[in-house]
Symmetry: C2
Subunit: 378 residues, 2 copies
């Protein structure tokens, strides 16, 4: 009774710290650790050794002490589940230092299990009615304001021409700002402001929570008139994001928030490349836009990180749609020309606190934001 | 309309890289980043500045370039949810290098939202009927075997006196070993072997999957006669583990598997201390035992890491039960005396591949394992 596999394989590129000899040894260990997790010399079945154990397809030097190892795995062992795919990519090897997943090639037969983003870039543009320029976004904050105060902020943003207003991701269901009360108040205020000002602002409440609660909040938000959702998979799990994306009664665009995802990539010698975390993983989980702290803000992402990240949002991934990179994390109006040059039109520019630095007339600050993006050369 | 908070606060100790001046500056930034995420100078409400923003309670030097900062947060901002608690602890600050959560003091009012482990150490001992010695555990593997082959292995382990047999965590729902078929076959084989040999082996199938599927698998496993579950929160999310622990129709002990959790702690200057990941977080999520790669196996955990980890499984955490440290990851029979000295009786010793290194008579190897633990001085 031998294993009969299709021959389709996923191909993972690991960056491994070590000399060529050590890196080869470590690559062979990864191929075992990520699959049979068992001493290969004790396996008596040739089909398991040949088809279940990962296969080191090649090793190349990045420099003397860093190597790229390409390891392929039979598609069948990743099952049809995101959890087991993550497990094959890095599960146990995440418990060893100096191993980073930097490249991913997934066969169509594996990708067929994933619906991916429901909207993607094109769908989200249509949903928002914004074409030919970056999408403008901001957040209602700070934590501590009540539902009515946040609703007034939301209304100002809508009147000022902001396309997308999200909850600050720290707004959960706190006693001083309960989820349902907040979402109803903000959604209603934005709908009214849109009607009065002939704008089309979309509100994305934060539904990050345990699976059942996230689903209930997503449904509540939709019924209350919210037209997008925010979810942080680092806190709530990739598959809960995916459940929201796939839920037939919701069908709203989803913004992926990076809280706690830093652990997957911040150590440059561990985890996953930025492009994979915010690109491929976010897309596999069904996000339509992926928020990250851009270079030049208050975080430490480099231009190179951001470039790699943008590539992850748009490179070929079977039939899964491309999604919007959403630079954020301490951006300012002053930096818009630079952001436009770097990200081009295919981005959501998320400016939060800085919109409040320009005097008490929030409306005119929002209009400056919009003008700077619509007519960058003025 | 001011905020009225209880005064209960959670206290987090961060280890921060930097000189005293820099560490103080970074601590102040964390207190803002984890809460209002907004320029404090633009906040005009004193109650938000005083009650919502985190408070740096103290700074102490570890060495010239490393400091501990104690930051307290109002319990109310962490809501009553694990997702928002994780967010307050490290959410956005995970996107900055050189910040690690090394201490956690959670008030009773916050812990009251968490049921924690249903069994804990004492409950699991009763469930297994094992007293006064470490619990013996192993895994059915390697991946690639079919349900019947795994069932035969399980039966041998049961006859050999192993207390707890878990699925290898890479066994998901692959076409060559479907979940339901495997779980039925293995559970039945172990039940029969127990009856024949008068042993009491408990089988823990791997139910790591998306939330709904994990729940369905947990229920299926229980109905099939499995008497424990295995779940990897790094793959499937802490709250899905919690959902399994809290489900009234399941009520089985849960083993927490470390796959992909390395990202939360493997960089010594980032993330969370080992004790917090495998101790407090696992307990908050409701695990009854926490598997980790012990020092001296094929992973890189130090004795110090393992000591810290054990402390996390048992130190006071409101009324939440203590759980079993479950050292694993390449342990061997030869090392049992050392493991017994280090971990004492309050541990589950998980030996996998090595049980197959001692000839084809698995039964007698299991008996050696048991004898080595029961009569260590023989």
């Amino acid at each position: 009774m031998g294993l009969r596999f299709s021959g389709d394989r996923l191909l993972v590129t690991y960056r491994i710290l070590g000399t060529a000899d050590l890196a080869r040894k470590r690559a062979e260990e990864i191929a075992v650790e990520q699959t049979i997790e068992y001493p290969p010399e004790l396996v008596h079945r040739r089909d398991i050794l040949e088809q279940v154990v990962g296969r080191v397809e090649g090793l190349s030097a990045v420099d003397e002490l860093t190597h790229h190892a390409r390891i392929s795995y039979a598609t069948e062992i990743a099952g049809e589940e995101l959890t087991q795919l993550l497990n094959v990519l890095l599960g146990n090897s995440s418990l060893k230092p100096g191993i980073r997943v930097v490249g991913l090639e997934l066969p169509e037969s594996l990708l067929a299990s994933f619906g991916g983003p429901s909207f993607g870039r094109q769908g989200l543009r249509q949903w928002l009615g914004v074409h030919g320029r970056p999408i403008l976004a901001t957040a209602i904050k700070p934590m501590g304001l009540g539902p009515q105060e946040l609703a007034e902020l939301g209304a100002s943003f809508a009147r000022g021409g902001i396309d997308l207003v999200k909850d600050d991701h720290g707004l959960a269901n706190q006693s001083f700002c309960p989820f349902e009360e907040r979402v109803e108040a903000v959604a209603e205020a934005i709908i009214r402001a849109n009607a009065a000002a002939d704008t089309h602002c979309v509100y994305a409440p934060n539904v990050t929570a345990s699976p059942r609660v996230a689903l209930a909040r997503g449904r509540f938000a939709k019924a209350a008139g919210a037209r997008a959702l925010l979810f942080a998979p680092g806190l709530g799990g990739w598959d809960t994001l995916r459940m929201l994306a796939d839920d037939e009664s919701i069908q709203l665009p989803i913004l992926c928030h990076p809280a706690l995802l830093g652990s997957l990539h911040i150590d440059p010698d561990h985890g996953f490349g930025c492009g994979i975390v915010y690109g491929e993983l976010a897309r596999l989980a069904g996000a339509d836009a992926t928020i990250f702290p851009s270079f030049g803000g208050r975080f430490s992402f480099s231009e190179l990180d951001c470039r790699e990240l943008v590539q992850g949002t748009e490179r070929r991934l079977g039939n899964l749609k491309s999604i919007f990179p959403t630079p954020a994390g301490g951006l300012s109006l002053e930096r818009i020309p630079e952001l436009l040059r770097f990200y081009g039109p295919e981005a959501i520019l998320l400016i939060g606190g800085d919109l409040h630095r320009h005097g008490s007339d929030l409306l005119s600050t929002c209009r400056r934001f919009r003008a700077a993006v619509e007519s960058p050369h003025r």
